[in-house]
């Protein structure tokens, strides 16, 4: 895994004035978990990777296809560099309650539905159907029904489809299974693994340690706005993570 090409790297990054800076590389095909007590920096780290928050020191860069690298300084830059972000608060920053399921899916990538410059509903439907199949979204009449008619799990799948429609190299997931039922979680986990096998890099912020253990190759534990420990392989255990979260050396 460690010999795959890097898709996103943080250099000398610190999340708070005076916090110890750290380096991290996210490589193709790996699933990186972020853990920590709420508000201890894992959220800030993810938002910094997405360009939504400026780092206090250091920088986040993505390599360019033609060589060299590009600094991620804004959300627009991140989107252009093939980074997709799935926000945490689905109701406040994810769905458009007054829009249909189909429009909610397509909104971030409407430019791709164009035929001769104009929006083609058939093209949009075709794009949606691909992800509906892939994520097994259960939604009757997506062109007419509002997104709010769906269950939390299916809303989340539509938002995931929206992020995937960018065809990203890096997918940042901020607590993707919050308020999602067990059956849907299993579907999401297998989709995440498939995406990683296809070479996408995933960064998953999880509030459940079990989830991080099941899903992730590498877990970064944060404490007091610093990277307390990157746990890999056999070092990843529930006890180890909890001890690091609370700042007790295990």
């Amino acid at each position: 895994m460690s010999d795959s090409p890097i898709t996103l790297s943080a250099r000398g990054l610190s999340l708070k004035r005076g916090a110890a800076p750290f380096d991290q590389d996210i490589r193709r095909g790996e699933i990186v978990g972020l853990a920590g007590l709420d508000g201890h920096g894992q959220d800030a780290f993810m938002e910094t990777l997405a360009g939504l928050r400026a780092p206090v020191t250091g920088s986040v860069t993505a390599p360019l296809a033609k060589g060299g690298e590009r600094a991620i300084t804004s959300f627009r830059r991140a989107v252009q560099s093939g980074i997709a972000y799935l926000p945490r608060d689905r109701r406040a920053t994810g769905i458009f309650p007054s829009m249909s399921i189909l429009d909610n899916f397509a909104i971030a990538t409407v430019g791709r539905d164009r035929r001769l410059g104009l929006i083609s509903p058939a093209e949009r439907r075709k794009r949606y159907d691909y992800y509906r199949e892939r994520l097994s979204i259960v939604a009757p009449e997506p062109g007419r029904n509002l997104i709010t008619t769906l269950s939390g799990g299916n809303q989340q799948k539509v938002l995931l489809a929206r992020a995937l429609a960018h065809k990203p190299d890096v997918l940042l997931l901020n607590d993707p299974t919050r308020g999602v039922d067990i059956a849907t979680r299993r579907v999401l986990y297998s989709v995440f693994r498939e995406l990683a096998n296809e070479g996408m890099a995933l960064v998953v912020l999880s509030t459940e340690i079990e989830e991080a253990l099941v899903l992730c190759d590498r877990i970064l534990v944060f404490r007091e706005q610093e990277l307390a420990a990157p746990l890999e392989g056999v070092a990843r255990s529930s006890e180890r993570i909890i001890a690091t979260m609370f700042g007790r050396a295990a």
């Binding site: 959300f75 458009f96 410059g117 007419r144």
Partner: protein
């Protein structure tokens, strides 16, 4: 209430009708009732041979309502109250400067100037409201006063005449400028921009995390509003056939009433230009019926106010009601 009950069952059968109903609220029902009353009391005025003049009479209000809609659709308090003064300013510049002083009467120059003036004021409004982030109502109040003052300075009293072609746009050919505005809007509806505008109006934070350039989308909504207001100013010029500094600004508030009546949510993200146009036609028909009975303009205002409040309450009820039937399904 029987009218509502039958229309809802009809809407249940035809999904397209239901969608229109949901978008425009009660304005179409009011439209049919008012049209019937008008035709009954004054058949000559509503005869097909008089349609050109009739549409010409209604056009400035319809144009002002359509112009007000895009900025409102952008949400988060987006509104442009300078639409009326833009119309008055365009009227003054076109008649006084272009036609009277410079003698330029070619349609291309006049229409081009009207669109350019509207667009430039739209750029200014957009800059103030979305880039400097002054609250839209305050920002456009600034442009409102600026334009009213400038118009009165260059044109203290009504004066001037317009060329024949422009006069015709207020009479037999009155459908042309309205048709042009609608064609442009239908074009915009098929562009990615329209989806972005509705998304930004619906929820700007979600739009931002979805990667939509929120500021640019809102900025352009003010430019579109400005351009449409410029065209509405031309429609007004065609109707009154001269330059008059006092008429333009009166359109602002009545246009906003028409937009609200037409089911466009002032919170943004809901409604469309068809609804705004129907709302404007409603107000025009009401005006026409009440004037026929020689009611004073004060009574007219009372009527606008009452209809507006009732229509908005009914739209809110309809929302709740549609929401419930959706849950029940």
């Amino acid at each position: 209430m029987t009218v509502l009950a039958t229309s809802s069952s009809a809407a249940g059968r035809a999904p397209a009708l239901k969608a229109i109903w949901r978008q425009t609220g009660f304005a179409p029902i009011l439209f049919i009732i008012l049209l019937a009353i008008n035709i009954f009391i004054n058949p000559a005025r509503f005869a097909p041979s008089a349609w050109g003049t009739l549409i010409g009479l209604a056009a400035p209000l319809i144009g002002a309502a359509i112009a007000s809609a895009p900025a409102i659709l952008g949400g988060r308090g987006g509104i442009d109250i300078s639409v009326g003064p833009i119309m008055g300013f365009v009227n003054a510049i076109v008649v006084l400067v272009l036609i009277q002083k410079l003698g330029l009467t070619s349609p291309w120059i006049v229409v081009g100037a009207a669109v350019a003036i509207g667009g430039l004021v739209g750029v200014l409004n957009g800059f103030l409201a979305t880039i400097l982030r002054i609250q839209p109502i305050v920002a456009t109040l600034g442009t409102y006063l600026l334009l009213v003052g400038t118009t009165l300075t260059i044109l203290p009293a009504p004066t001037g005449t317009v060329p024949v072609w422009l006069k015709a746009l207020g009479g037999p050919l009155s459908i042309l400028p309205l048709g042009a505005v609608f064609l442009i809007w239908f074009g915009i509806r098929r562009l990615p921009y329209y989806d972005h505008l509705m998304a930004v109006g619906s929820d700007d934070r979600a739009a931002y995390t979805a990667g939509i350039p929120v500021t640019l989308v809102r900025f352009l909504s003010y430019v579109i509003t400005g351009v449409f207001a410029g065209v509405a100013g031309l429609m007004m010029t065609a109707l009154i056939g001269s330059a008059d500094p006092s008429i333009g600004p009166t359109y602002t508030l009545i246009a906003i009433s028409a937009v609200a009546l037409g089911g466009v949510s002032l919170a943004g993200g809901r409604g469309g230009l068809i609804g705004a146009a129907i709302g404007a036609i409603d107000i025009f028909l009401l005006q026409s019926a009440l004037t026929y009975f020689n009611f004073s303009t004060f009574v007219l205002q009372i009527a606008y106010g009452s209809i507006l409040v009732i229509a908005i309450v009914l739209t809110a009820l309809q929302d709740r009601w549609l929401g419930r039937s959706r849950e029940a399904r």
